[in-house]
Symmetry: C2
């Protein structure tokens, strides 16, 4: 099934069930008002939502209305955890190669992951407010999962069982603030502003065989100012699958329901796939020509991120955002 | 007023108002069930809680019952954000001096802060489950605040206005996992297991003059296995006050209601104050004798963290935890 959260001027919005083709939606009133409630009590609530979803897809839901992604908050407008991996080691290799740095051997066995802010996620069509273009504004197209409860010490296989929903993420990054934060070693705060998520989050069955052993085998399209810049394969080159990422996260603590875990920038070795963040394009340019030439984003720039299923239909709806100057 | 959350087998527990002397409590039923609700709507709900608090302190609350810290969850059992500063630069100086490393000049103007996991906080008397003593188990006695909404770009003075509640924190650390995570630069995940908080969170007026310009001028007592090891002043040597820490956090993003921000280990230049984490004791030993001799915590060890007000009474109740082997 497909779930979204409609804006209603509250902090958590209103849960809606969305039809498979993303054409119509229906409030989940009577089942649950918020997605977090469903995640807190998944086994009880998800079958009820599934029934409503089936009714909606059959055209039998009485109070269905046209689905408008622009009215969506993030599926979880705020979450108790957001941990973002850097699971495509090619991304790390590319960025390091561009600055003649080695990739430490440990990076191939031990995932890179940072803890992000989860108190203020952006909806898929929300503007991105940035105080200065000099911060080096960049998008990062990613796949993300929302988990149920995963106990401390769970294996990657056990962790996979804890995945409830899939979505896309735009992990906004302020590149010029990253070097100083990396040097401090304490992770990212200022260089990672609010993250945006796709209009809908979907259960694993929605993507069929495209979900395989913790990887999503779909193509992530990134369109910057109307120009297609990335058609990246999200599956085969993901060095650490989602079960491994979650197991990394829960090695010394429990992961609780509603945790959001990201893949990091989707990245392919073959440059013909393009790029899922501008930092990669700049790295390619530095490797080829000695220096980057593509600038980061400016106010007014737009970025659209989407994935189509094996049937050619948009699975999650599109993240479609504009960069604007913060007040 | 003083607020706590009682265990009731739910994820968020039940909000209670606690008397000033911590002797009795009263469910906040009819006002709010959860502390997050109050933070989401502070101006409307906090006066109602204050009324109940006054009634309770006057001995007139009809359904008051004895307050038992052992029945408490963290005041916020799960939060949308936990960002922990390292605001006592003396702590950083000490640890670095012990390994003959310099403190970068930028550390005196730009706070160190990491984003922590906030999906699974520990109650004040909950056992701490750790899979191996070899992880290097350590406590960290800290002061923490819970914020309301603080908009992106707020100044330190504006950020101070966003502070709603004060509490104590025990930021459990697994010291032997830290070097590898520091080297990766992405911050702490495995080396920072679930954090514990004091039984009650209190409004600023509860501490009177001890709250001054973003610093809490009280003494933090740490008692390890029944032995007093720290009597550290939490106020004067805090290099960055809480307004500065929150302003650092909200430079590029909004900080939303219910965010928890920590001071980092409370640390004093004068070693006679003792220590608020074992890592500092080991650093002192390394500086004096060439190597550390105090071992980190073992299974069965206990740690008690408390602060007394100007009247000698416990302000927040005590964090009082035992380290146990994880299943």
């Amino acid at each position: 099934m497909k779930l979204a959260t409609y804006k209603d001027a509250s902090r958590d919005g209103q849960l809606v069930v969305v039809s498979r083709d993303l054409s119509v939606a229906h409030y989940a009133t009577g089942i649950a008002g918020k997605l977090q409630q469903v995640l807190d009590d998944w086994n009880f609530m998800s079958p009820q939502l599934q029934d409503l979803y089936d009714t909606l897809n059959n055209g039998k839901a009485r109070h269905a209305f046209p689905f408008e992604p622009a009215r969506c908050m993030a599926p979880l407008p705020r979450a108790y955890q957001w941990a973002d991996g850097s699971a495509f080691i090619n991304h790390v290799e590319l960025v390091r190669k561009a600055r003649n740095a080695e990739v430490p051997a440990s990076f191939y066995g031990d995932p890179l992951m940072y803890q992000g802010g989860s108190d203020d996620f952006l909806g898929p069509c929300d503007d991105v407010h940035v105080a200065s273009e000099a911060f080096g504004i960049d998008f990062e197209a990613e796949v993300a999962v929302i988990t149920g409860d995963v106990p401390m010490g769970a294996s990657p296989a056990q962790a996979l069982e804890g995945i409830r929903l899939l979505m896309l993420a735009n992990d906004w990054s302020l590149r010029n603030l990253i070097p100083d934060e990396l040097a401090k070693g304490f992770g990212f705060l200022q260089s990672k502003p609010a993250t945006a998520f796709s209009p809908v989050a979907v259960t694993l069955d929605e993507v069929g065989d495209a979900w395989d052993a913790g990887r999503l085998h779909l193509t992530l399209q990134s369109t910057w100012n109307g120009r297609r810049v990335g058609l990246c394969e999200a599956g085969p080159e993901m060095t650490f699958h989602f079960g491994q990422l979650i197991a990394h996260l829960c090695k010394t603590r429990n992961v609780r329901a509603g945790s959001v875990v990201g893949s990091g920038t989707v990245s392919n070795k073959d440059w013909r796939h393009g790029y899922s963040c501008i930092a990669e394009k700049r790295a390619m340019e530095a490797i080829e020509h000695g220096k980057p030439k593509t600038a980061f984003m400016k106010y007014g720039d737009t970025i659209r991120i989407e994935a189509r299923g094996q049937d050619g239909q948009s699975v999650f709806g599109a993240i479609d955002q504009k960069v604007v100057e913060a007040d």
